[in-house]
Symmetry: C2
Subunit: 475 residues, 2 copies
């Protein structure tokens, strides 16, 4: 690593299914402020805001690109690249894309690879562990961070630490990786003291990782090399060549590399880590009252203990006589589940998929590069939306066959173009867009534009849109 700094590789490809109904495929857990004021992605990149680290490389899905870019911008973090996976191919491939990206800038790049949806309470301990592992990584090791277990968890893989590595203080060999154990085994692991949770955090040289990938998962290595050789670049966004990338098998770094390499090493760390893998895990790390309750939002509780009750944009929640319950209220879905069944939320999401519902993919508030929209009312032949357009934001120039639109500006200023004629529409003014007429909406001002749209027509689907020109390349 030519300049001594380490490049964070932040993996943002997860879907956070078990935190439904707040987390949804198009707005997953890591992009939400579930465990604090900031999104988990923002909290993740903030851990690297020291001179010891270079600008991060974020790897995420094409469908999340504007959210990722906006959230990094809001956090004041300029990534060196946002690599957009054409489809999910698991961590071995995602990390390979980032390794190629890093090597292009620095042939000796060292990477710290982190999921974007974990909580780390003790950031100083985390940074210290990275410093401890760095000499081993510089010497060609593949360092994994083993988290000191605080409970006999059966939901995690474990790392068995072996002998200390000579001359590398605090770094041990990996004796073996262990799959998710049963309860008795997990209890023995915790008692024994040599087993650590595998939190999916890694430290290695980019070239070393790719060399190991060639040895142990050559199809992944070849697909990612080809995809990055033909990648297209659009500002900070890097798009690996799609067909080449799709040839990569979907496999985790653990199965593809770590379990086979002779260079695996581990650093033990105790840093208040949680993968926030379920509502129960969130309760574990939440601030709780004397009765063991964690409440968020407008909650009325009578004789309730050990419970997580969250209002996330949905109706207020009243609970009576509950023990160890999870209740989550969003605008279009409410979840009720005992804390010890929180893993089964996946079953609900599967049921929704089977029903053809969209409640597991989309949220009421939909993010677009220009801002957000939310359907607030819907009836026969009409639909009402609330749009918020960022300062400088511009919707595509578009036309609808089946609907007219009435726009009322309730805050800010709009520049409305209808059939080629531009007009400024101020607060408490309105505009009418007949069906079949080309139009565009933008916010020329310095404050967000809030606009109520009333759509009238026989068909109101999002797909009744003809785009003529789009600043965000969506035509």
């Amino acid at each position: 690593m030519s300049d001594q700094s380490i490049t964070p590789v932040v993996l943002s490809g997860g879907s956070g299914t078990r935190l439904w109904p707040v987390s949804r495929a198009l707005h997953p857990k890591q992009l939400l402020p579930i465990a604090g004021e900031r999104s988990m992605l923002q909290a993740t990149v903030a851990r690297f805001a020291t001179p010891a680290f270079a600008a991060p490389i974020v790897v995420g899905g094409e469908e999340h690109r504007f959210l990722i870019a906006d959230q990094l911008d809001d956090a004041g973090v300029a990534p060196s690249a946002i690599v957009l996976e054409p489809a999910g191919r698991n961590t071995a491939a995602a990390i390979a894309l980032a390794a190629h990206q890093a090597l292009a800038a620095d042939p000796e790049a060292m990477l710290v690879v982190v999921p974007s949806d974990h909580v780390i309470a003790d950031v100083a301990a985390f940074r210290a562990a990275i410093a401890t592992g760095a000499p081993a990584a510089a010497a060609g090791g593949l360092v994994t961070f083993g988290i000191a277990p605080s409970a006999a968890e059966t939901g995690y893989g474990y790392i068995e630490a072996g002998d200390p590595l000579p001359g590398l203080a605090g770094v041990a060999q990996v004796a073996c990786f262990v799959e998710k154990p049963d309860a008795a085994t997990a209890a023995a692991f915790v008692a024994g003291g040599r087993h650590l949770w595998n939190g999916g955090i890694f430290l290695f040289r980019a070239d070393r990782y790719l060399a190991e990938l060639v040895d142990h998962a050559p199809e992944v290595a070849a697909a990612c090399a080809a995809a990055m050789a033909d990648a297209s670049r659009d500002g900070v966004f890097v798009r690996p060549q799609r067909e080449a990338f799709l040839a990569a098998p979907s496999i985790s770094i653990d199965y593809a590399v770590m379990e086979h390499t002779t260079r695996a090493a581990t650093v033990r760390v105790d840093m208040g880590w949680s993968d926030v893998g379920s509502w129960s895990a969130l309760w574990d790390i939440a601030r709780r009252d004397d009765a063991g309750n964690a409440f968020h939002g407008d909650v009325v509780a009578v004789d309730v203990a050990g419970s997580l009750i969250r209002v996330d944009g949905g109706p207020a929640v009243a609970v009576i006589g509950a023990r160890d319950l999870v209740v989550v209220s969003t605008r279009d879905a409410v979840l009720v589940v005992p804390r010890d069944r929180a893993q089964d939320v996946r079953a609900v999401v599967d049921a929704l998929k089977a029903n053809g519902s969209t409640r597991h993919t989309t949220q009421p508030v939909v993010h677009r590069p220009w801002g957000t929209y939310e359907t607030t009312d819907r009836g026969d032949r009409f639909q009402t939306k609330r749009l918020i357009v960022k300062p400088g934001g511009q919707l595509s120039s578009q036309m609808h066959y089946h609907r007219s639109e009435h726009w009322v500006v309730v805050s800010g200023t709009a520049l409305v173009t209808v059939d080629g004629v531009e007009r400024i529409v101020g607060e408490n003014e309105s505009a009418y867009i007949p069906a079949g007429v080309q139009h565009r909406l933008e916010n020329p001002g310095k404050v967000p534009l809030h606009l109520i749209e009333v759509q009238c027509g026989s068909y109101l689907g999002e797909d009744d849109i003809v785009r003529f020109e789009d600043r965000y390349a969506r035509t």
Copy 2:
């Protein structure tokens, strides 16, 4: 009873607190379709749709008058009067008002007094019991219907049946009234076979009831006589004189008369009765699946049994791993309570009252004589409503100081008057009402008018309204 018909007196003054969040003070249980397609009031009056009964007298609150009138109209029932209690003074007074009203038309009127919020599955049995009791009532008896108990309920008062009344088949003396018993006593009552539930249903001559009231509760009798002597009449609505009525003590017919009179008699009836006094009681009478679940609306359930899950205008509900649970989802509040704690819903309503919340009084959909409105979105300096105006409905001529309004007609036709100028606004057309300008909205057409209103301004309270003229006498 000069024409042999019996006058139903339907008491509609309850607030249905324990069926919150569906039932609310301004739209209580009896005016909702909680236990079927029709409202409970509509189901109640339908039980008297035979020549044996005269047109009903309904006694209810001033604040419910349009809902009551509309629901009777929808049900095709023309009441002889809707007597509006100036304030709640319990059943002794409410029945006295109705007795005076009935006597004015027929000095020999016989009344059957029924709550408006009970379910009776076997209407034929109910009518037969009334026929059985009629000779005793005609002879001056105060007949109460004792419901054959199906369980050792501790939530009801009981009637102990005494000796049969000679010459009156099926009618027994009342040995005594018993307050809500403890569980052991209730079990003994059910085993013994002489105790019946007191369902609050009565049959007597109007003059006899008033005479008993004079004897046993003279203050109630005097207050109601004075209030009805000075009552004002407005079509079907009868308004007892307010100050006179407020002098009446608040006391039930049981305490005021039935426990003191020597003329109490009872008819045993087994008619599938429920007071639907809680969500648990509703579960008892609901159609349930093999797992004992009663679901209503958009529900996803995984491993759920013995539960009542209702979506009543709120978000979809997903429940995992629940036994004997009640979950109710409305647009602005969600309730989660074990079935055996359903009585404690009252505690939530009390907590809301203490918080200054309005979630226990008003519903998202607000009923007005001209139709309904619902706030669908709200933000800084704006609010969006959906209005539905009935054919022929007319809002008051009004003005707002602090808000402008943008109206978009999405279905039907509006007649809009702004500053004295009338204009027809058709589907997909809009109108603008500046602050400070007198305006009126009406539906001149034959189909309901659906209109989206976007309000803009610094203050958006319902009380920013100056009414100039109102068809419904609300100025």
